[in-house]
């Protein structure tokens, strides 16, 4: 969708990411998805009287990882606040969140636009909070059920500046955050299980207007597609309203994915007053330098940095470098193989070729790859040393993948697949063939170089493919004085 001439759009995203911790943020209960309703809600999650929250350090660690990943400032002292409102799936009648002193302040990510240009998107803040439970309305016709399994799941709310100028930038930014969260092992990124949810703040203004327009907040978008569709609809609605001389009211809206439209949920006037105040049950969290240093040390190299390193110091083409560095485990696999084999480019070709296509075929992740980097390195060594031909190598890889072979070299030996590079074995064969096909030999000598393939093919046939074709070539040339 193109923005109509004369208008500009400002979009800021609030991304709620569920942190991939084993336990909830303020209780020891499990965060596993999909268990029987209320089976993993303990007294703290249920908001029983007399219970107290206790901060799960693992959630803090994940938030700090994200903060370092976007080059944000980690607040050495952060604090929790209570956000008060009544809802059946909010057991305490307040949500514990961070208002004035969030864990992460500032930061940025770079997105690539469709035209290849890059753009820096600024992050305002990222704060920790607890998720609410779930109201189940289709449980009984006249009743609503409440499942508190999700209550207390740690969330990181990542708030961007209104730097995004259209839907595709918003989606690119959302994907960049999704990628970073999973790359840093902060969030499992599983959209279907609600691990990532978006609120989009959208406003439009005339290109010459200095101040931002009146914004609408579209709540709870749970896929990149809905995010895009909702923004499209909302831009159109706002511009249409203003163009027709109408006035926009600041409001909160919901997106209907079936009708592809947004509907007002509440206006600014009727907005809830959340009455934030510091959570008295928790002390401010002070982080010392050693905690941050420890996390820094455990941080993986970010994919952008890694890709340029693959390019400059390992000599990979840009596209290969980006592909392999884009996924942390894939990059790890490649790097291990490159180191073990000492052949980065060959390793890259194998990983992006045979290995990735096998994985895709069977819908597997690189961590489930049937052939270890060690086994692959052994196979690569055989090709580099000309022990097997490229074609044989593919067959050996297939055997390794299927589990028919455990070691490439043993398999090659047992099946007699070594290339015959011994001239004394090939020379008589070549002499014999030239004698059997004198016409072709003469034509080849006269410059019909296509016939080289004819003789090489014959030798390969005679040796069941174990001859080194390069060597056959050389012997032929020597014999014919080419």
């Amino acid at each position: 969708m193109n923005i109509p001439t004369g208008w500009q759009v400002d979009i800021g995203l609030e991304i709620h990411a569920q942190l991939s911790t084993e336990a909830k943020i303020f209780s020891g209960a499990s965060t596993t998805f999909g268990n029987a309703p209320n089976s993993q809600a303990c007294a703290i999650d249920l908001g029983m009287p007399g219970v107290l929250p206790k901060v799960n350090a693992a959630a803090y660690e994940k938030a700090v990882r994200f903060g370092l990943g976007v080059s944000g400032t980690i607040n050495r002292e952060s604090r929790f606040d209570r956000k008060n409102y009544f809802y059946p799936d909010l057991p305490k009648g307040y949500q514990i969140t961070q208002m004035d002193l969030p864990i992460v302040v500032g930061g940025h990510v770079t997105i690539s636009n469709e035209d290849g240009t890059q753009k820096v998107i600024h992050i305002t803040r990222a704060h920790l909070e607890e998720d609410a439970g779930k109201s189940i309305h289709d449980f009984k016709p006249t009743q609503t059920g409440v499942d508190l399994n999700r209550a207390g799941t740690p969330l990181l709310e990542i708030v961007s500046e209104p730097d995004l100028k259209n839907a595709s930038e918003a989606v690119a930014y959302a994907k960049a955050i999704h990628h970073l969260l999973t790359y840093l092992d902060v969030c499992d990124g599983n959209m279907a299980e609600g691990s990532l949810r978006f609120d989009a703040n959208i406003s439009v203004r005339r290109v010459d207007a200095e101040a931002l327009g009146v914004r609408s907040e579209i709540k709870n978008l749970n896929s990149f597609r809905f995010l895009e569709q909702a923004i499209h609809y909302e831009i159109e609605r706002q511009i249409d309203t203003l163009s027709a001389g109408g006035v926009l009211a600041q409001d909160t809206r919901l997106f209907d994915p079936e009708k592809l439209e947004t509907r007002a949920m509440r206006s600014k006037e009727t907005a809830t007053d959340y009455r934030y105040f510091p959570e008295p049950d928790l002390l401010p969290v002070k982080i010392d330098e050693s905690f941050i240093d420890r996390i820094k040390a455990s941080m993986p190299e970010l994919s952008g940095t890694r890709a340029s390193r693959f390019e400059t110091s390992l000599g990979l083409p840009t596209a290969d470098a980006q592909l392999l560095a884009g996924d942390r485990s894939l990059g790890d696999y490649f790097e291990q193989l490159a180191t073990l084999s000492g052949q980065p480019r060959l390793a890259a070709n194998w990983v992006k070729g045979d290995i990735l296509s096998r994985l895709r075929e069977q819908d597997l992740n690189i961590s489930e790859c049937a052939v270890s980097p060690e086994a692959m390195a052994e196979l690569l060594a055989l090709t580099v040393e000309n022990v097997v031909s490229g074609k044989t190598a593919k067959a050996v890889f297939a055997a390794l993948w299927e589990g028919d072979a455990i070691s490439a070299s043993t398999y090659v030996k047992e099946h007699g697949l070594e290339q015959v590079s011994d001239t004394s074995a090939i020379e008589p064969l070549v002499t014999e063939l030239l004698r059997e096909h004198p016409k072709q030999a003469d034509d080849l000598k006269a410059g019909k170089s296509k016939l080289m393939g004819f003789f090489v093919g014959k030798v390969m046939q005679a040796t069941s493919g174990t001859a080194n074709p390069q060597q056959v070539n050389e012997i032929l040339r020597a014999k014919l004085g080419l």
Binding site: A43, G50, V51, G93, D273, R275
Partner: protein, 486 residues
């Protein structure tokens, strides 16, 4: 030994020498409960069966020579400490049938030490009140004069000890809820440093102020109880990690040379003249024990009541939001929709005082009012803390009255909130600052007990208890017993 007024320390000797069994002692107290409870109304729940089995177990432990200071001692617990398998009501209709599936750390520690819990005591609803008249389970009577209030909110815990319906009890203090009823019932009551005792399992009123402590017949008993109640608890993030001193081992130290601060502001405001005279006399007794009286000023004390009545309601408005009729507690009949369920469950489940404070707190936190109320109250709180830090650079303990008057009549202040709130005018400052403070019997005014308040420096409960014990070595007001109720 007179069992009616015996202290923990005295009973310990008798139990250990097998002159008396824990079962006999428990039976003795239940007989007294049978006789006097209909008048006093100190208990919401009596735990006869569990108390008896705890006593049987205590006797075995005593026989094995493994008794702690509390093994076999009959105590009572304020009904906001959750104890698994018992009802915990917090004095409210909202929780009249509530049974927690967990036990408060304080209750667990006391039970592990072998104390025998006779029951859960009556209290102002959700600990909001200074007379015990806001309880859903009816007012508690002051054993010294049953037409008068015992104070609150730990009124049941105070009356139970004063009427001889248990030896010691637990209370909680948010703005004076241990010290004021202790003063009005002639007991020793101690509010420890904020964070000294775990709040896990204690139904919250105002989280940043709530602190549990003992109510006893002597400073020595308070020391023994506190030793078993205090200590770090990983389940409470605000709990302090410092090791718990053996308070009962530091009581005999002479207080010669101790610097006791006297703040004249305590004597200028609402203080009854007769009470003032009595308190001055108590101060001169401390002087005669070798302590030096030094004038100190707490310049922001006058603002403490106002700050407290913003901060405590603000916190309670959030703490009590969980009582929504959905997961546990009172639910209105036949709700028509969600709004109706919320509105009627809370309107019917909470009493007047609680509703009033929720409204005040909600208002104080509202957008546009936050800075003027909550923000400013927090500033006052910081200034009051600063006052104490400065005062304790000059003195070891601050002494003064606990309450402006002795016990007042039932219904006398119930209609005027401000009159009622003034009961805590001397106790609130220590709560806001988080410093430890206690009340000890300092004589009778018109036949009613009054209390001397001792305020200590952070984590210096040991000095408070030491001063209180020394005072009790030369006075006998703490040994006076209330007349037997009819």
């Amino acid at each position: 030994m007179n069992l009616r007024s015996a202290t923990i320390a005295e009973l310990r000797a008798h139990l250990d020498q097998r002159k008396l069994s824990a079962v006999e002692l428990t039976d003795y107290y239940f007989e007294r409960i049978d006789r006097h409870e209909p008048t006093i109304n100190a208990y919401v729940t009596q735990l006869r069966e569990t108390a008896r089995s705890a006593a049987v177990k205590a006797d075995k432990i005593i026989a094995a020579g493994q008794a702690t200071a509390l093994t076999g001692i009959p105590i009572a617990e304020k009904d906001l400490f959750c104890i698994e398998g018992t009802k915990t009501t917090s004095g409210s209709k909202m929780l009249a049938d509530f049974e927690a599936p967990y036990t408060a750390t304080v209750s667990e520690k006391l039970a592990n030490a072998g104390a025998v819990t006779l029951g859960k005591t009556n209290m102002d609803e959700f600990a909001m009140g200074s007379s015990n008249e806001s309880s859903y389970f009816g007012p508690v009577k002051n054993p010294w004069d049953t037409s008068r209030v015992p104070g609150g909110s730990s009124g049941g815990s105070a009356a139970a000890v004063a009427a001889g319906l248990c030896v010691a009890s637990t209370g909680t203090d948010t703005g004076g809820s241990i010290r004021q009823p202790a003063a009005l019932c002639g007991l020793t009551g101690l509010k420890p440093t904020y964070g000294r005792v775990s709040r896990w399992g204690m139904i919250a009123f105002a989280s940043s102020l709530d602190q549990a402590g003992p109510m006893t017949r002597s400073a020595k008993d308070a020391a023994i109880m506190l030793e078993h109640m205090a200590g770090f608890d990983p389940r409470d993030s605000t709990c302090l990690t410092e090791a718990v001193p053996r308070y009962s081992q530091h009581l005999d130290q002479p207080i010669k040379g101790l610097r006791i601060g006297v703040c004249e502001a305590f004597f200028e405001t609402a203080l009854d003249a007769t009470v003032a005279t009595q308190i001055r006399e108590a101060l001169s007794i401390l002087e005669s024990l070798g302590a030096t009286l030094i004038d100190v000023s707490l310049p922001h004390m006058t603002a403490s009541l106002g700050a407290y009545y913003v901060i405590a309601p603000a916190e309670c408005s959030a703490n009590l939001a969980r009582f929504d009729g959905i997961r546990y507690g009172y639910r209105c009949e036949d709700p028509q929709n969600l709004q109706d369920l919320y509105t009627r469950s809370r309107a019917e489940g909470f009493g007047q005082e609680v509703k009033k404070r929720i409204l005040v707190g909600t208002f104080a936190l509202s957008a546009g009012y936050y800075d003027a109320f909550y923000g400013r109250a927090q500033k006052v709180r910081r200034l009051i803390k600063q006052d104490f830090v400065e005062a304790f650079s000059q003195v070891d303990v601050i002494a003064g009255p606990t309450t402006p008057t002795p016990a007042f009549g039932l219904g006398e202040k119930a209609k005027n909130s401000v009159d009622m709130y003034l009961q805590d005018v001397f106790t609130i400052a220590a709560s806001l600052a988080g410093v430890p403070a206690m009340s000890i019997p300092a004589g009778l005014v018109s036949g009613l007990p009054i209390g001397l308040q001792l305020i200590g420096n952070y984590l210096d409960e040991a000095t408070l208890l030491n001063v209180a014990h020394q005072f009790q070595q030369t006075t006998d007001w703490h040994t006076l017993t209330a007349p037997e109720a009819p």
